[in-house]
Symmetry: C2
Subunit: 314 residues, 2 copies
């Protein structure tokens, strides 16, 4: 199993990516190789601070870096020897089994859509976010910004993608799917939610429990919470800001400490044909380690293959 | 000045409405009369527990009550002698200057739209909610559910309505208006936000500061935060749920204690021709007192007249 890792992505590149990779390797067995993309001398300098076996990783030297604020399509086209461009080439050719980056989100998306493509039947891939619940478990909210405007069928597909992720990766049996809405009763909502409801209700691939309201997002009512990417993005960033407020106010609470979204690493792009994980720019050691872990679980559980099967005939 | 108060609305009717009215009257001068709508013997029994001058209030006996889950239009039509129906009749005829209820929200909205009507030029009235900020001030988020689907022009009008409320009632000078969006840069957003941005930018009646993200809602970045009623409702209920979580976890923090939205009472329906305030069903003494206070401020500042002037020629 070969996990590709962009060492040049994120605010603390490559130091935190190196730390995360080392932490992962020290906790896991020999079957998993990490393929590092980036400036080889710099990565080697960082790696030399740690003492571990060289046969656990490979460094693919790349001479360019796509910066955080570059235009995605333009940057990918012009920087063919960037860590992101080379990573996707090797993912497409099968030389690596998954690709992870905390770099330019747009470039990662464009790379995913054009090099490895969307799974047949999936109209639009989606990105979700974990939601910490008071009982210690994690829920999944999606979409959180990839699809600002959605059609009812998009939401219905997000429900399938999210349910598979929740059951395979979060190990939630028969995950409950809730439609984020402004009221509980069927028939409530904006036009999108009203039209998505019957599709979700009739969808035999998911365990739809109906509408959930804003007050239900942080409790264990639904495991997979579906909404358009505009609403999801606002909700996610609001929830992220609660952690900042809690820290500023010196509140030390086990539950609110779990609002440190950075710790979870990234959530995969669901609906593309191979495992791709996009991390937060501020990802640290733990986030990188978690992303590598999620990539491994995606490969082990054959999540992408299961998604493909679910969309056959759709 | 005569403030109409529905005594039969809310989960604790009429006891909490009576307490709120008594608390208000004991703190305010003789110029303000409260006109109470509801079952006279029951209200009198509640009032008899307190010792205060009878000339400060009038009771208008009504024989019917619109329950919380009744169909608004049907209930208003069939229950002509309900506290809400009679209240709106007297508001329309000028016998009272404002009308407040913590009862059936739908019936209050239908009553407002059909008995006192929308201000000329206003496409859709809106309801906002206060947002507590860490510096102790209050912001205003609108719409929070009255308009699930919005057009760009609706958002532009909400900005005018919210700015007038913020400057007149919250006493915020030249309130900063932010468009709730998934990114800061101009051009970001769903189709609605993208189309609303230029309207807000060109609107000379407001102080538009640009897009704000979910993480900015709970800080003092914009005073008036504009979004469609779907997004606003999800955000409001999520924020309300934070208070519940904080209480469950025995966290006692001055800032998070202000997330007890119930304490603020209701926010007026902005854009209708007379002051109408709809309270939360769980409104208690303090909420009722605050609603009466807001109604007084609306009358004193002639907010409705100022809104009318702003919409002349629109």
């Amino acid at each position: 199993m070969k996990i590709g890792l962009d060492m040049m992505g994120g605010d603390f590149a490559p130091a935190e990516a190196v730390k995360g990779a080392v932490a992962f390797l020290s906790e896991n067995n020999n079957d998993i190789q990490i393929v590092m993309f980036g400036n080889k001398p710099i990565i080697e300098t960082e790696l030399s601070k740690f003492n571990f076996s060289e046969h656990r990783y490979t460094i693919i030297h790349t001479s360019q870096v796509i910066e955080m604020h570059e235009h995605p399509t333009k940057a990918l086209k012009e920087k063919q020897d960037s860590s992101i461009a080379v990573g996707f080439k090797m993912l497409a050719s099968g030389e690596i089994d998954a690709f992870i980056s905390a770099g330019n989100t747009g470039a990662m998306m464009v790379g995913a859509l054009f090099s490895i493509k969307t799974i047949e039947g999936v109209i639009r891939p989606t990105i979700g976010a974990y939601v910490p619940r008071e009982d210690g478990s994690l829920g999944l909210l999606l979409d959180v910004g990839l699809n600002a405007d959605c059609k009812p069928e998009n939401l219905n597909q997000f429900a399938i993608l999210g349910s598979l992720f929740a059951s395979q990766i979060l190990k939630i049996e028969n995950p409950k799917v809730g439609l984020v809405n402004l009221g509980e009763e069927e028939g409530k909502g904006n036009l999108l939610a009203q039209a998505a409801y019957p599709l979700l209700k009739e969808n035999k691939q998911i365990n739809f429990i109906g509408n959930i309201e804003g007050r239900d997002i942080l409790i264990n009512k639904a495991d997979v919470m579906i909404c358009d990417g505009f609403t999801g993005n606002v909700v996610l960033k609001l929830a992220e800001s609660i952690y900042d407020i809690v820290k500023r106010r010196n509140i030390n609470d086990e539950h609110f400490n779990r609002f440190n979204f950075e710790a979870y690493g990234g959530v995969p792009v669901l609906g593309v044909s191979k495992p791709v994980i996009i991390g937060h720019g501020i990802s640290g050691e733990n986030a990188f380690k978690n992303m590598i872990n999620i990539a491994c679980k995606m490969i082990e559980t054959e999540l992408t293959g299961k998604i493909k099967s679910s969309f056959i005939g759709i």
